[in-house]
Amino acid sequence: MNSGIPLQYFLILATVMFFTGVYGFLTRRNLITILMSVELILNSVNINFMAFNRFLYPNKLEGMFFSLFIIAVAASEAAVAIAIIINIYRRFTTINVEDVNEMKF
């Protein structure tokens, strides 16, 4: 099943994915691409949870259920974020974060 693959490989893979997401979060200016970077970050955390559950505590299910709940939170977060992005686009006709610099007063 997972013989011959150490736990550390999964963790290093998740680390690389996480910091790729951080890099995208810092450099991107379009709101949708920022949201995509956040999805990358959440997804890499899920890989960590699953690897820990399978390699260190295979008699429990905590990691699996945490990943399930993180996926649900990510889905609701994406829905609300996209609703806000569409509202911003209607008001400012752009979703570039540097052009959206005033709040409703």
């Binding site: 893979l13 949708i32 699953m50 996209i82």
Partner: protein, 180 residues
């Protein structure tokens, strides 16, 4: 090299390459499709770890739901052929330094730490076990987070509908309503 090692190398190479392409691609629709590849490869990793239920959830919710939502909002808010201008070189360099420093620190810590696995027998993750744990109030039960997540999903659904439906009223339209 065993078959599962080859699969792991394949999946991790796909994840690394496509996640870098996701955050560097100049065309937004391509970035969304690269994100789809990353999520599908992640579900392949879950299948390798023998969590079939979560892999199916990952495929249907992430790859099926969120990516379609993102692609829809891309089509609503930007031109497909539009290319981003490059964000400044200075910003790119400093972000890359921050990301590389964090990754190096984390990888050094991971390689340094001595993980110790439990010796108890592995549990077979069946669908029946998942269902009964989700609704159980005992020691291994997850009924409280289950209820919290259901409230959260309901609130997020209502919030998304309310926020996206109500267009911002233009200031010039308000006096007309008062005059009628």
């Amino acid at each position: 090299m065993a078959a599962n090692q080859i699969m792991f190398v394949l999946f991790s190479a796909m994840i690394v390459i496509f996640s870098i392409l996701t955050v560097t691609s100049r065309r937004i629709l391509r970035a969304a499709v690269y994100l789809l590849f990353v999520l599908v490869s992640t579900s392949g990793l879950y299948f390798m770890l023998n969590y079939q239920f979560l892999a199916a959830v990952q495929l249907s919710l992430y790859a099926g739901g969120i990516v379609v939502l993102i692609i829809f909002s891309i089509l609503l808010t930007s031109h497909i052929s539009q290319k981003f201008e490059s964000s400044g070189l200075k910003k790119n360099i400093f972000s890359a330094i921050a990301a590389l420093a964090g990754a190096t620190l984390s990888i050094i810590t991971i390689l340094d730490y001595n993980f110790s696995a439990t010796t108890e027998a592995a549990k077979e993750v069946t669908m029946k076990l998942i269902g009964s744990s989700l609704l159980s109030v005992n020691y291994d039960g997850y009924v409280l987070p289950f209820e919290v997540i259901s409230i959260l999903l309901l609130a997020a659904m209502i919030a998304a509908i309310v926020v996206a439906k109500k267009g911002a009223p233009k200031p010039t339209e308000l006096p007309n309503i008062n005059q009628e």
